[in-house]
């Protein structure tokens, strides 16, 4: 097990190196010039060139890549071209809102979707099942921003129960923190509730037709025990997998949600950086996301051993 974990962690190094090379090259080749953005409309070509030189953007590809790689290896993500702040500081400023949004969304999605999927499988073919599936289709079909606007209109503007926008750090109190996260988490969670509920239902249907479930019923086990103790644990592997995959989707979904609810998170930081061609910030954030994705996949793989003793690493 530990050997497997160490192997997997070591395997992230070439993955991260490839991601780094890819991201750097892509940005190098993509059109756009931060020096022109900084210089503004009044600038002469000489002004733009001076700014480009001061930012080191006039250096050859290999020199820039080498310098950047060396900095990364020393733990330095660089400095934002525009804000003049270290990229690590900017990430620090933004990581809490994004993590909070992701965690609350995942908790919300898992706690709603799994019981929904289990009940739908149990009541297969009934109105309850059809309602759950209809909700799932709706959850997939309605874009996050539409849900976000509707929620903001109803719960913030009309009812005045929750704020429209912003983020309150958890250090200011749990309830103020939650107050800002409920609407975005519900908006972002819709699609994951739908996804997890469908997978749970499909996985449960397969497990519920197994002999050991029939045996449990024959022994007189209570229905909740059959569903949540006997069946769900054995149906868990695909569900955990889809939660892991969903994490990657959350990163993309957070970009939209953070914009709609004006949450100062990493998603908005990434979009702003891309639009301005703030290369060090884009590179730093994408590296972080890649690392997080690799880490989550590792955790998902490890979690399989908890649900299925036959799996050994």
């Amino acid at each position: 097990m530990w050997a497997y974990i160490i192997r997997r962690i070591l395997a992230t190094i070439p993955v991260m190196a490839i991601v780094a090379l890819f991201v750097f090259s892509l940005l190098y080749l993509s059109p756009g010039d931060p020096a022109a953005v900084i210089a503004g409309d009044q600038a002469t070509p000489d002004d733009v060139e001076r700014i480009r030189a001061s930012l080191g953007l006039d250096r050859p590809y290999l020199v820039r890549f080498g310098a950047w790689t060396w900095d990364i290896l020393r733990g330095d993500l660089g400095t934002s071209i525009f804000t003049n702040l270290p990229v690590s500081t900017m990430i620090q400023q933004r990581i809490e809102p994004t993590l909070s949004l992701m965690i609350v969304t995942l908790i919300l999605a898992v706690t709603i979707a799994i019981p929904m999927g289990v009940v739908a499988a149990w009541k297969q073919g009934t109105t309850i099942d059809r309602c759950v599936m209809a909700f799932a289709v709706l959850g997939f079909s309605v874009p996050v921003f539409v849900v976000g606007y509707v929620l903001a209109y109803v719960f913030a503007l009309e009812l005045d129960w929750l704020p429209v926008q912003g983020y309150t750090p958890i250090s200011n109190g749990f309830f103020p923190w939650m107050e800002n996260l409920i609407l975005p988490a519900v908006a972002l969670g819709g699609v994951y509730i739908a996804l997890i509920a469908r997978i749970t239902r499909a996985s449960m249907l397969e497990v519920l037709s197994q002999d050991y479930v029939r045996t449990a019923r024959a022994k007189g086990a209570a229905q909740p025990s059959i569903l949540f103790v006997h069946a769900l644990k054995n149906a868990a592997v695909p569900i955990v997998t889809i939660i892991g995959i969903g994490f990657a989707g959350l990163i993309g979904g957070a970009v939209v949600t953070e914009s709609v609810f004006a949450i100062p998170g990493l998603g908005r930081l990434t979009v702003d950086a891309i639009l301005r061609r703030d290369y060090p910030v884009i590179q730093g954030v994408i590296l972080l996301f890649s690392f997080a994705y690799v880490l989550v996949n590792l955790l998902v793989d490890l979690s399989y051993t908890l649900f299925d003793p036959r799996i050994r690493y």
Partner: protein, 530 residues
């Protein structure tokens, strides 16, 4: 049940309200003004970065030697006044008493000299002054002298203009930073202090009232007069989504929104707690620029063909919708309502559009169906709307349009390329100019027609440049008027660029906020909140 009690009430049975964070008292809330700026404050060096948003924040933090008032006349701000030698070459300025930087140090003449020295290389007027400057020296702590080799009558306007970069006064040690390198300290001289620790670029910027600032006694008028700050704290809340900003304003989560989009104005107007008014009477001028170096727009006739066919109403309705109060046709280049406004030579832009004339001009210009590479930034609503109208116009004229949908960052790079469109260059791109920049030629880069030194498109029209030079040297308003007429008519004749019309924008604020004025930038002095 209202918002502030919703979660607490729901949670009371579970955990009580002890976990909730401290709430602002009503008094503290009234002393904090929450403002939604036009865009993110991504950097805070108003000389290095010349974006309007940086200028707007900079005007609160750094003071200026002169400031233009609402009549566009420069008035003394940090100076008591000046004297000018009889030959018009030596300007001597004396700073007023009581000026302090935000670190408590007094503002001295040497700080001013260094600040002007950093501003000049980045500003078109500054560059003109630097080219004729003999010396700029501090005579004593409060006096500095500027000696020129030839008269420059518009010098006070250069020091007090609203256009970015404005001549903000910083401490000498900061102002000695190369103007192409970003400063790292934000020690201001103006009425508000920048709270760097609370700055989250892309999300929030915070400013606090600087108690030791000594405002002038005159009433405030734009950048001139007594800049009295009536709130303790100003929070800029960045909201990329207009619908969110609208909802936040309606909900009372923010107090003032700098630039609501016109689609949302009816919604805001229906809310009795919100006031809506024109933001800047000087508005904006829409434009697209044609590349004078490459076919087909290297032909004056082809450029004129586009002017003959284009309907400014089409452009303006695409930009501002059906609200006729928000736009005006513009048969010229200077801002309507400003003293420099003129329609001289603008006939080609007036009256019914003449497609037959346009087609004749195209033929005379030798247009041979070359592709017109039309660059349109899709992430800027103003450029996108104009680009769609232009593409349709050119197709109706029978031109071969290569519509390049891209983003503003890419446009910014590609428009600098002078090679033919087939080799990465371009034929036309869309933009817009703040009306405050277009009141006269002083800071109006887009009107320049000095070839390689001109703005993108690189028009080379000596008669336009001659008119601009005459305006700079004009001894009186009549001579200024004659020069502007000349610039306008020659620029239209040679189509320096195509003006798509003059349009205004709105601002909106909660009715418990008072003192908001119309102007080319948001002025925070005189604004209070109850």
């Amino acid at each position: 049940m209202k918002r502030r009690s919703f979660l607490q009430a729901g949670a009371a049975g579970v955990a009580g309200t002890a976990l909730a964070g401290p709430a602002l008292s009503q008094g503290a809330a009234a002393r904090t003004l929450r403002f939604v700026p036009q865009t993110n404050l991504a950097n805070f060096d108003p000389i290095w970065g010349t974006q309007y948003v940086v200028r707007n924040a900079g005007a609160a933090v750094w003071d200026m030697l002169y400031g233009v008032d609402e009549r566009l006349v420069p008035q003394p701000q940090m100076v008591e006044g000046h004297t000018l030698s009889q030959d018009g070459l030596t300007w001597t300025f004396r700073l007023r008493e009581g000026l302090r930087f935000h670190d408590g140090e007094p503002v001295l003449a040497k700080d001013v000299v260094a600040s002007i020295g950093r501003w000049m290389p980045r500003d078109p007027m500054g560059q003109m002054i630097r080219a004729i400057q003999q010396e700029l020296v501090a005579a004593d702590d409060r006096t500095f002298r500027w000696v020129l080799r030839q008269p420059f009558p518009k010098l006070l306007y250069a020091l007090g203009k609203t256009n970015a970069p404005s001549c903000f006064i910083m401490p000498e040690r900061i102002a000695r930073t190369d103007s192409f390198t970003q400063i790292t300290e934000y020690i201001g001289s103006g009425p508000m202090r920048f709270v760097r620790d609370e700055w989250v670029p892309g999300a929030r910027a915070v400013f606090q009232k600087f108690d030791r600032y000594v405002p002038r006694n005159e009433p405030a008028s734009w950048l001139a007069g007594g800049k009295r700050i009536l709130v303790d704290r100003l929070e800029w809340v960045v909201m990329p989504d207009p619908a969110t900003a609208s909802a936040a304003l309606q909900n009372g989560e923010v107090d003032w929104w700098e630039n609501p989009i016109t689609d949302l104005i009816p919604v805001l107007r229906r809310n009795r707690n919100i006031a809506v008014d024109i933001a800047d009477p000087l508005g904006n001028i829409g434009s697209f620029r044609m590349n004078h170096l490459q076919p087909p727009f290297n032909s004056q006739k082809v450029r004129q063909a586009v002017l003959a066919a284009m309907s400014q109403e089409d452009y303006m309705r695409a930009l501002v919708g059906d609200d006729s109060n928000l736009w005006k046709p513009l048969p010229g280049y200077f801002t309507p309502g400003s003293p420099g406004y003129t329609e001289a030579g603008g006939d080609i832009l007036k009256g019914p559009r003449n497609m037959d004339l346009a087609k004749r001009l195209l033929e005379q210009g030798g247009y041979r169906n070359e592709p017109v590479v039309c660059i349109v930034a899709q992430d800027q609503p103003i450029t996108k709307a104009q680009g769609d109208v232009t593409a349709d116009l050119l197709k109706r004229m029978g031109m071969n349009v290569d519509f390049v949908a891209t983003d503003w960052g890419t446009t910014g790079q590609r428009r600098t390329v002078k090679t033919p469109p087939s080799q990465g260059g371009w034929s036309m791109f869309h933009s817009w100019h703040a009306g405050a920049d277009c009141v006269n030629p002083a800071a109006y880069s887009a009107i320049r027609a000095n070839g390689d030194g001109a703005w993108f498109g690189w028009p080379n029209v000596p008669s336009v440049e001659q008119g601009i030079a005459e305006w700079f040297q004009a001894p009186d308003p009549a001579a200024e008027r004659a020069a502007l007429d000349k610039v306008n008519s020659e620029a239209i004749e040679h189509v320096v660029y195509a003006p798509t019309g003059f349009f205004l924008g709105y601002q909106a604020w909660r009715r418990n906020v008072s003192g908001i004025t119309k102007g080319p930038l948001p002025f925070f002095w005189g604004v209070s909140k109850t």
